[in-house]
Point group: C2
Chain length 510, copies 2
């Protein structure tokens, strides 16, 4: 009632007598609120973020009801909506956590149970912190030695192509870096407004950030029939259309793909770079799943490496920002909000503006920076923690590969569900057939049909997935995104419940 009342006051129109009477009773007639839905920032209202949307809110509520003893057709809620590995039981890498404990409480450097390589990493990080404390602010661009380690890591990863630590910016998760880069890019009004090309399906951070910044979102569709691959002709189509109403300036790529799990071929990356060069687009490469490649014959190729292998005509010219994070891969340390971006061929004056912009928020969280350092400077052969580190890393990636295959296989046994191979990342994005009757029902409710589907799935089975409409999909097609993160036994239960539900749902609406 309260918000309704206030809305009416502000809106000024159509306030009925009943509302007015209630307002007077509440002593509210004299003033509405300063900040109401009608007087708040309109761009914020346009923001949508499905990964934590209504389905997830309902899931949290159901969990609460279960805890309070409510009777449900399921004993627990299984959340496969978000790439949150630790929440699904994945164990942290011991070495990383040892070093973080040492950095947090340096007294432990005297504890003989900690391995020497963990101690030396901690000492190195602490020495480059103000007052030798991770409680000090770092430089806004990130701790010097961490940026150096990141640069060396990138050089090794990319077969020796040089990386300047000055081009590395540590970030608060990859999201922070992506939003910052988009923020730098946005300008102009009307037909000159900055447009940014994003894949559909996409990770909704992109659409949310573009909405908030008031930029124009330019959709290019991935080719579901060809395992979510990227066709240059589709890029061209999307760009040509967009040029009629905005100024396209950047092209975002997620590789390995989120939510679609594809891994781009080297050839495709080369074609994309050539396209960006020809069309004068800044490239943004979201490469946070760079270690998550499972399918035979697939390999991660960084945009930077391919760019430099294409020769100076490209490597001296194409502007590229690439993003990495501590949240995914084998570490899955989402809570630390660690990440970095590397910028290539950025104009020097713009770079100075970027450095200034990040300084306003002081610095990325230092524990997250420390963790990022460990990821890029992990135990080496001969160091005491090496064997255990490799064992843990390999096991985690092995299990993920297994679950990627399992997910694809089981989903493809269900009539009405078809699932591309999960080549990489942490998600499957299967296509689902929704009966006409269900589509009509959803439309009557003003709901996306796959939202209706996922909401019913949640209520009946406790399984929390995200509807494809939250990521974007071709008109008339329906999907859901499901992480492959639940423990194998739980994943099997989940998949068989989805199968059962889908059959029931199809029957019910036939």
């Amino acid at each position: 009632i309260d918000s309704l009342t206030v809305r009416s006051v502000t809106g000024g129109e159509g306030m009925n007598v009943e509302v007015r009477r209630k307002m007077t009773e509440n002593g509210m007639a004299s003033r509405g609120k300063v900040l109401t839905i009608d007087t708040m920032n309109p761009t914020v209202k346009k923001v949508e973020y499905a990964v934590r949307g209504p389905i997830v809110q309902r899931a949290v509520q159901l969990e609460k009801e279960l805890r309070e003893g409510a009777k449900k057709p399921f004993a627990e809620v299984i959340k496969a909506n978000i790439g949150d590995a630790h929440a699904m039981g994945q164990q942290p890498i011991t070495f990383f956590r040892q070093v973080l404990a040492l950095c947090s409480y340096p007294e432990l450097l005297n504890d003989s149970t900690f391995p020497e390589d963990a101690k030396s990493r901690a000492r190195r990080i602490l020495q480059s912190c103000g007052g030798s404390s991770i409680g000090a602010y770092s430089a806004s661009q990130g701790i010097d030695c961490v940026r150096q380690d990141v640069a060396r890591y990138i050089e090794q990863r990319d077969g020796g192509i040089p990386c300047d630590p000055d081009n590395i910016y540590l970030t608060t998760g990859a999201s922070d870096g992506i939003v910052t880069m988009l923020k730098l890019l946005v300008c102009g009004e009307g037909k000159s407004r900055t447009g940014v090309m994003i894949s559909i399906p996409q990770y909704p951070l992109y659409s949310a950030a573009l909405a908030e910044l008031g930029a124009v979102q330019i959709n290019y569709y991935l080719n579901e029939e060809k395992c979510w691959s990227l066709d240059i002709s589709e890029l061209q189509r999307a760009l040509d259309e967009a040029r009629r109403h905005c100024n396209p300036r950047a092209l975002c790529i997620i590789n390995p793909g989120n939510p679609t799990g594809q891994v781009q071929s080297r050839q495709c990356i080369e074609d994309v770079i050539r396209f960006a060069a020809k069309e004068r687009l800044l490239l943004m490469a979201d490469e946070v799943y760079q270690d998550n490649v499972y399918a035979d014959g697939c390999k991660f190729h960084s945009f930077k490496k391919v760019l430099f292998e294409m020769g100076p005509e490209f490597s001296n010219n194409v502007e590229l920002a690439s993003f990495h994070s501590t949240s995914k891969c084998y570490m899955g340390e989402c809570g630390f909000r660690g990440g970095y971006m590397e910028i290539i061929n950025m104009d020097a004056e713009v770079k100075a503006q970027l450095t200034k912009l990040v300084s306003v928020r002081l610095c990325p969280p230092v524990p997250g920076q420390a963790l990022m350092d460990l990821v890029v400077n992990c135990p080496q052969p001969g160091e005491p923690s090496y064997n255990n580190f490799m064992k843990e890393r390999t096991a985690t990636l092995g299990v993920l590969a297994e679950k990627a295959k399992l997910t694809e296989q089981i989903l493809n046994t269900v009539p009405g569900i078809s699932c591309n191979p999960v080549q990489g990342a942490m998600y499957s994005f299967p296509r689902i057939t929704i009966p006409e009757k269900a589509i009509r029902e959803a439309k009557e409710k003003g709901q996306a049909p796959d939202m209706l589907y996922c909401m019913k799935l949640l209520e009946e089975t406790g399984i929390c997935l995200v509807p494809g409409s939250g990521f974007g999909q071709k008109e008339g097609t329906y999907h859901f995104r499901m992480t492959i993160l639940p423990a194998t036994d739980k994943l099997k239960i989940l998949l068989s419940k989805v199968k059962e539900f889908h059959q029931k749902f199809t029957q019910q609406y036939s």
Copy 2:
């Protein structure tokens, strides 16, 4: 040359033959950069942030030169530019760091050398993390149990006035909360554009955020003659003038003051609240220095407490957001980027939008949330860590109080410097007399006179302060901001060097 070239290409005008020739040599003629200073986001260019501005960049460079063996008239750079306690040698609170180590590496829960209360705090935090790991994402609003602890802390602080955990949002430092609130508020164009009142001098996060959001900054001046107090008549003047060209919607207060170190009286807070109610302004209370009160007769009064003591006419109506942080007070844990905001009387629909908005960035860093929890749920009498915790806390605050007095006293012995009492926070903001000749020289260089002063001070003594012009000051007055954080012996050296420099500078320009 590179950026100059590109600028010319984009600007299109006045490109001289020499530049064109160089461009062709570099093979650049065919394409400029996508992102240049002329085609980047214009609001970002307007952002300024003095606390990490040119003075600090020069200080970092000087440190590097010293390390490389350069000869300077000083042996070290002393940074008194930023409220970074640990960097200046303040020690972290043992209990906090023990719990953080336990949370990072839960194996240590089996270590008998850790006190039981540290372990129980760690267990409680871990239990409310997904998968019992601080590496999992938390809810976007923050971990439930942390928000509950924050609410209990606020209730105790404010003498029992109720606090709903649902009104608590954990943030990435206070800066994040402040920017988020401002973002919600900004709308309208031209004369309807949102205006936000900020004190002058101010902490430049406010001006930077308003510039980036394209909001109108409304300056109200603090009264230096009355110890930087806030006069309602000045608020009224500023507001009335602003109403002619924008739509003022919020009033920001920093108490205890940054950069000015004053502590507001209860009466003044009441007057401000009455003003906000009368003029329909949302209040934003930056209270990150709430434990940093040193002067006799001064006490911290939270805006929330005063608001509720003024009765339902105010407490049911005035919209208030207040901000706290782990970075200041006695803990000084800046690097963890912990913080919270409490929102009061926020419209329910707007609150839903706020929750959605913060969900896009997933969650604040979990180690920072854990630390915030410890601050609001610190060791209690009877617990094993209580005595040591209180000893450390009291010692740190005692030393800060001493240094606050010392700074004021010594600065006031210098002819041409006058310094208000440092009643609270971590800064002095003394007024300095700059000779006419120096003012003319600065103006010829296109520099603020106090920038010239601070730059010379840095070059000659290695002391890094921030010019008053970075915070705003009355036309024709000059100041610098200096933290009171250096260790006492170093602070004494610093102050005597400032004294000596000021005398020399005055002589030189007379």
